[in-house]
């Protein structure tokens, strides 16, 4: 219903944009849809309320009795019931005074007439607002001990007891996209890439030494300047070496499940994230296109192999094997040796052939989107054109001047990660088409551009940057409302939209049956600066409790 009515679909010729449309889906025409829903709902709700009122009245009594008997049974699934709050499901309607039933970390049921089983742990949320946990699209230094490099795996470097998790949970962030290489030194960062002779005699190089500049420019025949250590770019005509794919920055989706290591890591390489330099200029673009071509060929080869497998029946393969056996008997020793040589040569060739970047394959398949920082009109235009030409999903980070190109972005289904409080001065004489614009959120919403919100600084900071760091994410959503977006869209911009961008909208971002139970209990509107998160439930467990954790003040506003 959502995407078929959207004009975005009509203008979009690329078949690989299914995911983007899904996160563009709540753009232009979603307003009509929701109004229709409300009509039919109103009638239903009327009937439901009368029915539910009776059950609601005896529920508190039931609940108390139930919680006593819960300790005896341990093998049964863990059931939590959040009762009595106004539930903002984000993708659906608001359920007033509803109940959410959580079983083993997943949402089982939402509604006003949900029956709470005896063994459930009941969390009362009367008078509270219940929303899905917020998704921070741009985080760093949260939940990770040391940034993994080389052979160190991210899955082994997490810290479920990181204090920053509590600060994030305290403002409602229950999951997010963490950039792993953020804050690294500019010089001497290690990454995987072309083999470098580092440990002569060792079987395989353990780590490669690649500077950031090399990450950006790929494996050109660079050498390091003896004075400053930066790579010296070749000035001679480039030989037709197989171009290396640009090094994507590592991004991972983490759940802020404090104290629970098992559910922390949601996904690695959730974006194909490159620095703008990697795609800047004719040379870099040429390299990128060639690498995309490689990836495309790999996908096609995979498809072919898949279809061939289907056609060869077992009878056929048996016959072939028999024929092969007979043929081999006939072969003389010399011929056998020849064959072996050929095989070895083939293997060698296969080794020589540049391998496609698995991340690029994912990008072309539409499993992940490209994330690239672009702020000026030129940068954005450039990136959008490239994505249209090559047919992959694009998310623009920054997008300060994206409002100028809103029509184009909307038509292309490009997502924007926007910070309503970021500012850029307009150029003299071109005030109408440069610089930041306070009404950008309104324009994005009108043109159907899916946007999610990011804070000015991506880490949690307790010293001197108050109001800029990650803990001001809901505040940023409030600024989006000030910029003309409606509250629904603003809430989406910190929940379901970033979840869609991450490709995790089947797990997080809204309150729906079957999704992860990442639920906030707030003592007011999620966009009000006076609102505190009372409890944050992550993967079905209370990971943050305002009264116990004492991260934020305990006084109540009048």
């Amino acid at each position: 219903m959502k995407t078929s009515a959207s004009p975005v679909q009509l203008t979009n010729t690329s078949p690989k944009r299914k995911r983007m449309n899904s996160f563009a889906g709540n753009g232009l025409y979603s307003g009509f849809n929701s109004r229709l829903v409300i009509h039919s709902l109103a009638r239903r709700v009327c009937i439901a309320v009368t029915l539910v009122l009776l059950t609601l009245m005896c529920q508190p009594l039931l609940a108390e009795e139930e919680s006593e008997g819960k300790e005896e049974k341990k093998d049964k699934p863990e059931i939590v019931a959040i009762v009595g709050g106004d539930i903002h499901t984000v993708t659906g309607p608001v359920v007033r005074k509803g109940t959410i039933l959580v079983e083993d970390g997943k949402i089982k049921e939402i509604g006003q007439s949900v029956k709470v089983p005896e063994e459930a742990t009941v969390i009362k949320a009367d008078g509270m607002t219940v929303t899905p946990g917020f998704v921070a699209i741009n985080m760093s230094r949260v939940g990770i001990g040391t940034n993994p490099s080389g052979k160190e795996k991210l899955g082994d470097g997490l810290n479920p007891f990181d204090r920053n998790l509590k600060y994030a949970l305290g403002v409602g962030i229950t999951s997010g996209c963490v950039e792993l290489s953020a804050g690294g030194r500019r010089f001497g960062r290690r990454a995987e890439g072309a083999p470098v002779e580092m440990y002569p005699g060792l079987e395989e190089p353990v780590e490669e030494f690649v500077t950031e500049a090399m990450m950006d420019f790929g494996d050109l025949n660079t050498s390091l300047c003896p004075c400053c250590g930066l790579p010296v770019l070749p000035t001679e005509p480039i030989t037709s070496q197989p171009p290396a794919a640009p090094k994507p920055r590592k991004m991972a989706a983490l759940k802020m499940s404090f104290g629970n290591l098992d559910s922390m890591l949601m996904g690695e390489d959730v974006f194909y994230s490159v620095s703008p330099g990697a795609l800047n200029g004719a040379l870099a673009k040429h390299n990128f296109r060639k690498n995309l071509q490689l990836a495309r060929e790999a996908i096609e080869a995979e498809k072919k192999a898949g279809s061939e497998k289907k056609t060869t029946s077992s009878a056929k393969s048996k016959a072939a094997a028999a024929a092969k056996g007979a043929a081999e008997k006939k072969l003389s020793k010399e011929e056998k040796a020849k064959q072996a040589k050929e095989r070895a040569k083939k293997l060698k060739d296969a080794k020589k052939k540049p391998k496609p970047d698995p991340n690029l394959i994912k990008l072309l398949k539409g499993e992940i989107a490209m994330l690239v920082r672009a702020n000026t009109v030129n940068e954005i235009n450039d990136m959008v054109d490239l994505s249209m030409e090559q047919g992959y999903d694009l998310v623009i980070q920054g997008g300060i001047e994206a409002w100028v190109l809103a029509d184009k972005l909307g038509a292309a289904g490009v997502g924007v990660i926007y910070t309503p409080r970021s500012r850029r001065r307009a150029r003299k004489g071109r005030e109408d088409e440069t610089g930041s614009f306070v009404e950008s959120p309104r324009i994005f919403q009108e043109k159907g551009i899916p946007f999610s919100l990011a804070t000015l600084s991506s880490s949690i900071s307790m010293n001197g940057l108050a109001g800029r760091d990650l803990t001001s994410l809901p505040l940023e959503a409030a600024f989006a409302v000030r910029g003309g977006a409606d509250e629904r869209t603003a809430l989406k911009a910190i929940t379901i939209t970033p979840a869609r961008m991450l490709g995790l909208d089947d797990r997080i971002g809204s309150l729906e049956e079957g999704k992860d139970a990442d639920i906030l209990i707030l003592n007011g509107s999620p966009l009000d600066y006076r609102t505190y998160v009372e409890q944050a439930i992550v993967a079905g467990k209370v990971a943050y409790d305002r009264q116990k954790d004492k991260v934020y003040p305990l006084h109540e506003h009048q």
Partner: protein, 408 residues
């Protein structure tokens, strides 16, 4: 006047006896009489008791015992005798891998942080690596430690040692002790423990050989180490893991969760353990080794007694007096002070004393010879001039196998 003469007399007596004991203890039977003895065994605390020692072994302990005719009597009136402290995890030397390495890349030399391909460090067999020269066990002896499970900062196989008066190669009485490793929340560090304990996929013995010290032995070292790990896997031998942060505790518990046979000894500080107490309790095969003392609740001004919390949760634990090196060298006058603090803030007195004597002995498999003052056990004991856990009580003498190794 009178008091000074008394003092002089006492001093002379002490001086004479101490000389006599050090010279003759081994040969002669000695009966220590009139002492309060914390046996740490079935008899518990015995007032006005006598302990007969000969050939470095305890022959009798009790109130109503026959003292052999040839025994020399030493009066311990007003003093308290308790077993020598058994240290379950004594880091005696650092072999931690160098965290900075030099790399030559296209003609330039770089120094970069982070370990190289051998960042896990070599496998150290303390029994063979042990070098008695330039080792100083004096702070440990002054604290009352008589027996220690010697480990290093890295990983390997520990050795059990008697802390004799002089450090010699003979002080190791069991060269093959238990497996130990230090772990943090990084792949390379975690793999030190995980890889050898995972069910084998393919033959990895070749790779292991490169990571171990190249020692010449008839049985290949790699195979021997493999066997040691197999013992751990079967639960026949304990594995000591020193975890250096709270996340590593979580990772290790997650790893052991599915491996029910492995007997894990978690060596960690109180705050690092605090957040994972529930998880530790779930696994019955986990024992905790921690340092004595009061800790801060993480990110709070509140104080806590983690030993007491462990006792409440019925998690088996031992206390290592040497885990905090600063504490070890600072506690010269009243070495039992941190333990006394634990008792003062709620830990059961008997449990506190057991957790530094008989419990670590059990952990190391030495409970038949060490850890308590009972018949036929080694005569390792400490003499205090009062209740060991009372402020102001001095540790006066430390005996190892009947020999005095330290006197205050």
């Amino acid at each position: 006047m009178k008091s000074t003469t008394n003092k002089l007399a006492a001093l002379i007596v002490i001086a004479i006896t101490s000389v006599a004991i050090s010279d003759l203890a081994q040969a002669q039977t000695v009966a220590y009489t009139g002492a309060t003895i914390e046996t740490m065994g079935e008899d518990g605390r015995i007032e006005n008791a006598t302990m007969v020692v000969s050939d470095g072994k305890i022959r009798e302990v009790g109130t109503d015992i026959e003292i052999p005719d040839d025994a020399r009597l030493v009066s311990m009136a007003g003093k308290t005798i308790m077993p020598g402290i058994v240290d379950p995890y004594h880091v005696y030397k650092s072999t931690a891998p160098n965290n900075v390495r030099t790399v030559v890349f296209r003609g330039r030399t770089f120094t970069i942080p982070g370990g190289g391909p051998f960042s896990a460090g070599p496998f150290i067999r303390v029994g063979e690596y042990f070098d008695p020269f330039n080792l100083n066990f004096n702070p440990a002896k002054r604290t009352g430690i008589t027996t220690a499970n010697l480990v290093t900062d890295g990983r390997g196989l520990s050795a059990f040692a008697n802390l004799t008066e002089e450090a010699t190669a003979e002080m190791l009485f069991a060269k093959n002790g238990l497996m130990f490793a230090k772990v943090t929340n990084q792949t390379s560090a975690l793999d030190v423990v995980r890889k050898p304990l995972e069910p084998p996929k393919k033959k990895t013995s070749k790779k292991k050989a490169t990571t171990t010290d190249d020692k010449e032995k008839k049985l290949s070292p790699a195979e021997e180490i493999k066997k040691l790990w197999e013992d751990v896997q079967k639960g026949e031998s304990r594995l000591f893991v020193n975890v250096n942060n709270e996340a590593a505790v979580a990772y290790l518990l997650q790893f052991v969760e599915k491996k029910e046979k492995i007997k894990l000894v978690l060596v960690a500080t109180g705050p690092n353990l605090y957040q994972s107490l529930d998880q530790i309790k779930k696994n019955e095969n986990v024992t905790v080794v921690l340092q004595p003392g009061i800790d801060r609740v993480p990110f709070s001004a509140d104080l806590m007694n983690v030993s007491q919390l462990l006792a409440e949760q019925e998690i088996p634990f031992c206390i290592s007096m040497s885990l905090s090196k600063s504490q070890l060298s600072a506690s010269q006058d009243d070495p039992m002070f941190p333990v006394a603090m634990l008792v003062k803030t709620g830990l059961d007195r008997d449990l506190a004393l057991k957790s530094i004597t008989i419990k670590p002995a059990e952990l190391l498999g030495l409970e038949k010879t060490h850890g308590s003052l009972e018949k036929e056990k080694h005569a390792n004991f400490l003499v205090f001039d009062g209740d060991p856990l009372k402020t102001g009580s001095l540790l006066q003498q430390v005996f190892l196998n009947g020999n005095k190794i330290h006197e205050n």
